[in-house]
Structures are given as C-alpha cells and as structure tokens.
Amino acid sequence: MLAAIGVDSIEALFDEIPRELRGGTLAGVPAALSEMEIARLMHGRAERDGHWLNFIGAGAYEHHIPAAVWQIATRGEFYSAYTPYQAEASQGTLQLLYEYQTMIASLTGLEVSNASLYDGASALAEAVLMAVRCHKSARRVLVPASVHPVWRRVVRTLVRNQGIEVVEVPYNAASGHTDLDALARYAGRDHAALVIPQPNFFGVLEPVDELTDWAHAAGALAIAAVNPIALALLRPPGEWGGGGADIVVGDGQPLGVPLASGGPYCGFMACRRDWVRQMPGRIVGATVDAEGRPGYTLTLQAREQHIRRAKATSNICTNQGLMVAAVAIHLALLGPEGMTRVARACHANTLKLVSGLTAIRGVTRAFSGALFHEAVLRLPVPVAPVLRALEGQGLLGGLDLRQDFPELGHALLVCATETKTDADLAGYAGHLARILGKRSRPAASAHRRRT
C-alpha cells in the first residue's frame, strides 16, 4: 500500500502537519486490555453497583421491556446503519421512523411527529424556540413551576442566548397544579407560549383544558409536556380545551428504553400540521419510487442545518435514532391494550404505595390534586437520612425535594410502576414505618402546610 502511494513509511503521510505539533504522548491512557480483561473489569464494576428496588421516578421510569425490543433494535442492520440520507439503502430505518411518527401522532392526538430529539428536557427547549418562531412577535414564554426543575433549567440554558425570557408561573400549594388565579396576572402581555405539563413533576394532573384555552385566548401557543405512558389513559393533548395543544413534547424513555443512569433516551415532538415547517429534527415522509412502489425518505430537509446552515430551525443533527427503533418496536409489542394495562397498573400501584405509606403516622400526601403514577409525600422528619436508611435495606425510596422545592418541607417524590409487586409495596411501607418509628419526634410539629 505504501508503494502504491509512493512513500516509504506511514509516518511520511503526516508530513503536512507542522513538526512542532507532532509527537505528544498519551500519558493518561493506560495500556491496551484484551476483550477478556475489559469484560472482567466491567463485570466487576457493574457488580459493585448492584441491584436496587427502585421507587424513584422524576422523569425517568422503570418499566418492563420485552426481550424482543433490544434483540431486534441491536441487530447490526439497525445498529450500524447511518442516518438514512441514502434512502434506497435505508428503507428499513425510514419505514420504521414513519411508523414511529404515526404512533406518536396518534398517542398525542396531533397531526405530525418528527423522528426524534435528544431527550424530553431538550425537546421542551426546542418547543419553546419553535413557538417563538411561530408566534413571530413575542419572546417571552410561561413555564409553570410544576414542570420538572431540571427541564426548566435546561430550557433556560438552551434559549437564553437568543434573548428569550422564561417566566415562571407558581403552582397552587394545596392542589399541586398550576395556579389558574396566579395565571391571570400574566394576561394582556405578549407571550409566545404557555407550557402545560401532564402529569406535572409532582405527579399531579393539570387542568389542561383551562390552561390550553387560557393560552389561546392570550394569543400564545400551548406546549404540552407529557408522559407517554399516561397518554394511554389520559385525553391526548390534541383534544385539550377548545383548540388542542399546538406542540407536544416528552421523553420517550418509558417506551422501551432502559434507565441506564440517564441515557441515551429520546425526545419526541408532535405538532399541528400548520407548524411543521418550523419543526426541528428529522422528518420522514411517504412517497413512491421510479416504478411507483411505496417508499420512504427524509423530507422537508430545507429546515435542517445541513441544507440551511445558519438559518436552520435547529442545529440538531445526529440524535437518538436507535432509541426510536426501540420505542416503535415496544409500542408495537404492547399495542393499545398493553399500553392501557401498563398505565393502569402504574396508577394502581402508586395509589397502593401512597395508601400504604400514608397509613404511617406523620406521613401525608402533600397535594390534593389527582395523581397519575407519582406522588409527593410529606415526612415528619428530614428526608435525606430516611432515604439513607432505606438504602441500607436495598431500597431507593424516592427523590428528596429539599433542594428544588424547599417550601414543601420534608417532601419526598415517590413512584411505583407496573414493575412493583404487592410485596415490594408492603416492604417499602414496613421499612419506612420502622425507620420513622425509631425517630423520636412529635408528629404534628413537623406537619406544617404552607398555603
């Protein structure tokens, strides 16, 4: 090969690189390991992390994933294919994405879906940017405090530099959903959008019809941020209020993607057909080939960075293709009945967990609003040491809300999906009762409610 090139060493091929730049060492990179050695290292580290009985939700949810999902998704033909720019060589991925778009459009009750974004939080930020483009005049958006606190921070990071202002709408301290009375004070000002979480970060259902109608009356777009499992039971955003939500986003993780310490997941986005040219990300369309046979191709690419560069709707390029393959396969395996059963089991298990835990003296539900599959509980004592004690029993008891919602007191966000058995739920209640029982405190004094 060197002779064919006309050089006598590989080193010579680097002769255009200034000599003073070459020859650095890789002191921080250890010597090579064989596959056997790295497997042993990784198994050791995995075992060190162990298995936990998990009751944390907060935007990432433990669900059963059918064995077929990842066996098919990791087939080399899906796993090692590029983004389907060469449509004739990518019909498998393209048709799958078209099927996925159909499923998401139907779940959300909107007309069109894109083929994926990074995750739910960044999808919400993209929806905010999209709403500002659609609205044209306003550069301010309303984001309720009942939206996931990290999602709110992500939105700020991703939109701040474009001069877009994020205004926080308070939640009602009794019900736990967005405060409609408080919303009134934003009327009459120019807002591009109102974000409506369903269910919200506390697990509580929002008054989505009133919020959607309020947004439309105020000349703002309604952006729904939803949990896709909940949509099996709850009215789809396309049917909210008189006109339906304009843009829907969420995290696709609950649909066949493992928790995996936070990624890779995938974000989904659907919208009304009117707004499709403002959508970020890949979109697949059906068409025909030269012989009139049905086929699929990436379409409306003039929105995207590789064509439009500085004028693109987003800089997004490679994102979460394979996760979408898993989501489509997962949704096909569950079907409408399976989805409904999963959602009902999550709801029933969480109610059962909440009822078991609130039977313990001093433990109460923080909010009166109806919940889906998460709940905020108030404990009579600080949450952190309780969670540590539960950890000692092999159990992750939920998320401590002290940092993000100090006004809620000793608040704990818990979640029980369909993966939990009655024994798991009873076990949690038993451990919590023992842990709280050991602590001497007058139950009533810690039980304060701010309204």
């Binding site: 091929l13 730049l21 090579a32 990432a60 999602w151 039971l233 990624g263 080939d289 590789h306 800089n315």
Partner: protein, 482 residues
C-alpha cells in the same frame, strides 16, 4: 407492508403487559381518553418478523463497506456494546445516589481523564448528547467567557465556508452572527480573508482540523495567532479527531475549547441516526464554564458536580448526565485500544485514505486537492465527468449501491462541485478497498458507455430512486387507514 396493515382487532402479545392491573383509580372522568391510540394489534411473532425484515432493507457496516466521508463509519467492537448493556448499568436510575453507582462513575471519571490526555484539554464534560450539542455548549462557553469579562461587543463567530452545517447553526443558537471565511485553492482557510474578518467584534473561530475537505490546515499556528491577537477564542470541532488520535492534540494547536464526536471516534455505531455523545473539553481559561454535570473523583470516590460546585457553568443540556450508555462504550473501546492502539487508528485510517485516493486517481478519477495528502478522507470531483457524460456525483453514488457498497457523502462540502467525500476508516482491509476501486472503475466505464444506466440507478436496491419532490409537496408523515 406497514405494521398497521398487519393489525387485527384484539390480537396482542399478552405476555408483554401486566396480567393484573388493579382497579383503584382517582383519574377524573373528564380527563380520560375516549378513543384508543392507533397502535398496531399484532402478535409478538408479527413484530419480530416485521422489524427483522425491515432491518434487512438497510445497508449497514455489518453488511456493507460504508465509505461515508465525514461520518467515520468504522467497525465498532461488540465488546463495547456488551459491557454497556450489563443489567446493573442499564437498570440504574439517573437520580440514584452517587454512592450506588461508584462502578459506573469510575468509568466516566476515567473516560474524562483519557479524553483530557487525548486532547490536551484541562477539563472535560461528558454532558452533551451529540456533536451538535457539544458545539452549542462550546460556543455558549465562549459567550459566557466574554460576557463574564464585560466584553459584550463580541457578537460574531467566524466559520470556514467548508464547515459542517451544524457550526453556523450552533453559533446562531448562541445568539451570534456568523461570518463565513473563504477557502483557498489547496483547501486551507484563506489567511487574507481571515485577517480581514477578525476584529473587536470577533467572539471566536470554529475550525475542524483536519478539515471537512480532508486536509490538515498547514497554517493552524498562524490562524491561532491571528484569532487570539484579535481577542477571539478558538473552537475545535472534533468531527475528524479520528485522523490525528495520538498524533496531534487540539491543545497544542492552540484551541481553547473543543467537542468530540465520541460515538464515531470511540465506538458507538450510528444506530440509523444516533445516539451519539459530544463531550466538550476546555483549557484552564474556559473550564469553569463547562456544562453540568462533571464527574469528580478523589481517593477512589466519585461524585457528580452540580450548580453549587460550578457557579460559572453554562448550565445543563439535558435532563440527566448525558448519553451514559455511549460514554460506557467509549470507555471500553479506549481501554481496549490503549495509547498504542490510538496511534494505530490515526495511522491506518490515514494509510487507507491515501491508498484509496491514489488508486482512484490511477483509475481515472479527479482528486479535488491533488497537491495535498489525504487525512483520513479525501474528495473526488466529478465536474469534468459530468461535462463529458452528463453523469453526476449523485448518479455515481446511487450506482455504487447496486455494486454492494454504501455511497460516499455526496455534495458536501458545498464548495467543491459534483463531489464525493470518501472516508474508508482504519477498520477496512486492502481487499475491501481494492473491491471498491474495481467497482468505481466499472462505474467510470459505464458512465461513458451506458450513462442512462447510472442516471436511473439504483436498480438492485429494495426500492428505486424515490420521488423526493412528491414527498415534500404532498406531505404524508403518518399512516391513515384507507
């Protein structure tokens, strides 16, 4: 056949959903869904067969040579995937306390350390979920740096005209104006144009090196001096890091902040469009602005750093800590390569590219930058072939599909007419490269003898050339029953 067309009312994969669902409910009636979503009603076998058959309608690295320029479509060892899918890793909740994930966090910490070594940067954040998000983070850091000094009139980012489309798009997302810098006849940034463009409004320059034209910027040190003297910062787009692994470090070239397309250089297959990961690295000046979280480690204990630890951070880019599974794959791959293996990646990808370029030139193709060495990729221009035969770069790309090869990148970079950008990667053998050259020779002969065969290619794929105009004009983005 779509999965929806296989659907039959009442058919399902009963074992996949809970058998007992409980009866308790506090969902108010008016919030309930009236009509089921349109999901297919099919058996597990229906699903497995349908999606297996769909997969077979793809080209992929596992089945085809994929010389897709700028995409680094190399083989990724299966061991990386196996390790990332260990159940303790896949089952771990992102909000689980750090002390329940010390094994996982150790991998991430060590990955940060290795990436520091490879790039020369002072600190690395693994948070960005793709290259484009890494670009956003890097440019946002540049803005945060200037803003922190009250230097707020710097509102322009310079980008070479050959750059990936993500560069200008990311700069705009950070609120910047983009100024394009011209390229000279040998594929270098035009220094005169750069000098004319820099000034007190310059926030920074985004540069890929080796560039998207498949050549190393000779004058990188001169470029560095020009930009820094004007008070701007230097951003390194790590899209082509594969070509210089262990050979040259972005820090030595004077870059202040970089991103790495971790998936393509360090072993997560492309997945039909992701997931990727786009870690950002920064020198000491910009490190305080890195996105969250970072992994801190001391005495074998690891923890995630948050807002309180890093008050100057640009913030968070996603709900959790980034594409963790992609990070684990990269860790495994880097440990399997070791330092020596990394240099071999650069050597063999460069060797393969130069060999392929030379053989194609010998076969009668025109190289876009004939006076230059290829880095890990190179460009052919079919300008003269089009004049002579009417055959375009697109036609050649489509005909390659018939010959059992994925097409190279066509029509990028935009400034080279009728171009094919070809990147063989280090994992292909000489035999594969020779077979590709033979196919290209046949196509060249066909272009002259039977151009119509190329204009109507491909012929052997599951579908023929698709009507993209129809797709865009008569938008059909979701299936509806007829």
């Amino acid at each position: 056949m779509l999965i929806f067309e296989l659907s039959r009312p009442g058919r399902r994969s009963a074992a996949q959903a809970p058998l007992q669902v409980g009866v308790a409910s506090e969902l108010p009636d008016r919030q309930l869904r009236r009509k089921s979503p349109r999901l297919p009603e099919v058996s597990e076998l229906d699903v497995v067969r349908h999606y297996t058959r769909l997969s077979q309608r793809n080209y992929s690295i596992d089945t085809h040579f994929y010389p897709l320029g700028s995409c680094t479509m190399k083989y990724n060892p299966r061991a990386c995937n196996a390790a990332a899918l260990l159940p303790q890793f896949t089952d771990r909740h992102p909000a689980a306390p750090d002390d329940t994930g010390q094994g996982f966090l150790a991998c991430l910490f060590e990955l940060q350390e290795m990436l520091k070594s490879v790039t020369g940067m002072a600190q690395v954040s693994l948070a960005p979920m793709a290259g484009a998000q890494g670009e956003f983070a890097g440019v946002a850091m540049i803005r945060a740096y200037h803003d922190s000094r009250g230097d707020t009139q710097r509102r322009e980012i310079l980008v070479p005209d050959a750059a990936h489309g993500t560069n200008p798009a990311s700069a705009v997302m950070c609120g910047y104006l983009v100024r394009e810098i011209a390229t000279d006849a040998d594929g270098n940034v035009e220094l005169a144009a750069l000098k004319a463009a820099v000034g007190p409004r310059t926030a920074g320059l985004m540069l890929t090196n080796p560039s998207t034209l498949g050549v190393f910027e000779h004058s990188i040190l001169e470029i560095e001096r020009i930009v820094h003297e004007a008070g701007g910062l230097l951003y390194y787009d790590g899209a082509n890091l594969n070509a210089i692994l262990g050979m040259v470090k972005p820090d030595d070239m004077g870059f202040d902040v970089i991103h790495i397309n971790l998936h393509k250089t360090f072993s997560t297959p492309h997945g039909g469009g992701g997931p990727g990961a786009g870690p950002v690295g920064a020198n000491a000046k910009l490190a305080p602005f890195l996105p969250l979280p970072l992994v801190a480690g001391s005495d074998g204990e690891y923890r995630l750093l948050a807002e309180a630890d890093r008050p100057l951070s640009i913030g968070r880019l996603g709900a959790h800590l980034g594409n963790a599974g992609v990070l684990l794959r990269a860790f495994v791959y880097m440990r399997m390569l070791g330092a020596e293996g990394m240099r071999r990646v650069a050597e063999f990808s460069t060797l393969n590219a130069n060999y392929l370029m030379e053989e194609l030139r010998r076969a009668g193709f025109e190289v876009a930058f004939p006076r230059r060495r290829a880095s890990h990729e190179f460009i052919l221009t079919l300008w003269h072939l089009k004049d002579e035969t009417g055959v375009t770069a697109m036609d050649v790309a489509k005909r390659l599909l018939d010959k059992g090869f994925h097409a190279p990148t066509a029509y990028f970079p935009l400034l080279v007419p009728e171009c094919l950008l070809i990147e063989p990667t280090e994992t292909e053998s000489k035999q594969t490269l020779d077979a590709f050259v033979a196919a290209m020779k046949e196509i060249l002969a066909e272009a002259r003898s039977r151009p119509q065969l190329l204009k109507t290619a491909p012929h052997a794929t599951p579908v023929r050339r698709l009507d993209e105009v129809k797709a865009a004009r008569e938008l059909d983005l979701a299936w509806k029953p007829r």
